[in-house]
Symmetry: C2
Subunit: 255 residues, 2 copies
């Protein structure tokens, strides 16, 4: 029995998220179907975590056990031959039997891209949240300071989620204004804001709810100092809107 670890990139635009669901196009579903076509055996793939509908990944990790004699390299090629172009296996390698993409992870990094200008270039519109109100990036940066460290992030977790603990540690959070974004080595100008969060784990909708709340701060709807009260409340209703999935990227999982 082999344990094969994949690093996967996907453009989530056309998918209802990672997790397999009946009668819905999901990334897990498409990857598992491709593995079954290669091996002839129904196979479950375990990822570092689910990503929501429309969310993208530059470095999702997922692994599966197989009796197949194919090498990881051959698996990678065969999968890329079968998968649609918006899902690519970037690398494949053998993993220890006790390795687990989710439980062995020590740290994960997501980033979120806001476009705070007009109009949106056709080359980035799939990957940004277009916020039309002018945002005060410095206020957003001040507000984000409060989120650093170990906290109960219940106020930033989807209300219908049932988890044992909503305590997570944010190691780093950066909010960078970018005057342009490079596209194929050419500049696309406009006001972009990139929010990057490194944490030991993420609750459901956590990055999207933090982003939505920080955008409220940037718009002046919420004061930067209110973040501490929102954390203390442990109530999803106190935080801001859930930012749309299309601006979110699972950047990297660290082991």
């Amino acid at each position: 029995m082999k344990h094969i670890l994949l690093s996967i990139q996907y453009d989530g635009t056309n998918y209802l998220g990672w997790q397999r669901q009946p009668n819905a196009l999901t990334i897990q579903g498409v990857v598992e179907e491709a593995i079954e076509r290669i091996t002839g055996t129904a196979t479950t793939v375990a990822a570092s975590g689910r990503t929501d509908s429309g969310v993208h990944a530059l470095g999702q990790t997922a692994s599966f056990f197989t009796e197949s004699r194919l090498t990881p390299n051959i698996f990678q090629k065969a999968l890329n031959a079968l998968l649609p172009y918006d899902i690519r296996v970037i690398s494949a390698e053998l993993a220890a039997a006790d390795f687990h993409c989710r439980f062995s992870a020590t740290r994960k990094r997501y980033f979120y891209v806001i476009y705070n200008d007009s109009p949106v270039s056709p080359f980035v519109y799939r990957y940004v949240w277009h916020v039309k109100h002018a945002l005060d990036v410095e206020a957003m940066q001040r507000a984000s300071e409060t989120l650093k460290g170990r906290h109960d992030f219940k106020s930033f977790c989807a209300a219908d989620t049932d988890v044992q603990s909503s305590v997570r540690e944010i190691f780093a959070i950066a909010i960078e204004p970018l005057p342009c974004i490079s596209f194929l080595d050419t500049m696309i100008t406009g006001k972009f804001i990139k929010l990057t969060i490194d944490a030991d784990g993420f609750l459901r909708h956590m990055v999207r709810n933090i982003t939505g709340t920080l955008v409220d701060v940037g718009r002046g709807k919420t004061d930067a100092s209110a973040i501490q009260q929102i954390l203390n409340a442990k109530d999803r209703k106190k935080a801001g809107v859930t930012a749309p999935g299309r601006g979110l990227f699972l950047d990297r999982v660290f082991y």
Copy 2:
């Protein structure tokens, strides 16, 4: 009567090129239809040139005459409200009555992106030609030197084209190997080759035929020294294949 000049970006993936055609989705067709919805009058838009099926633009220019009292700024907003997200009007301004996007242009720049590695990231696959044979970039650069300057490019022009003269001047041609491409401020690694051509004008399929021929040189199928003979032959059959449209970008038109 007003003359309005638009700068337009488009992702050409879903279009059969710029030029309006009956029963086909084209960029010109979609833009003209949007103008008609705004003004109530059928309007023809004149561009700097046609782009082929699947070809993209970062800076296509197009203009139209209208009796409408709307300002260019209002036209831009109204057009962007009506156009699909893969076509955006980046700017709109008044132009002199005798200005012509094509005939007033002094110079145009196209670039072409080759991906010479494996696998192709989902975030770039719409915008590159995936060439699997390893390419010798230095040989391609040597070959490209012969193309600089004023030449009859008939060998690089689509065979069915009827133009008065196939003489054009290439001011600059650059072939750059790139070890990665920045995507939303994050690196996508892999061997990219970017070919940029500045010229006083371009024949039909000229950049794509030059790219296809230079790829033959990079693969060792054609010797770099053969370019001069190909130019001299003035025969499309002597040059290489037409590179696919999806790797080509109309970058900028200069006036």
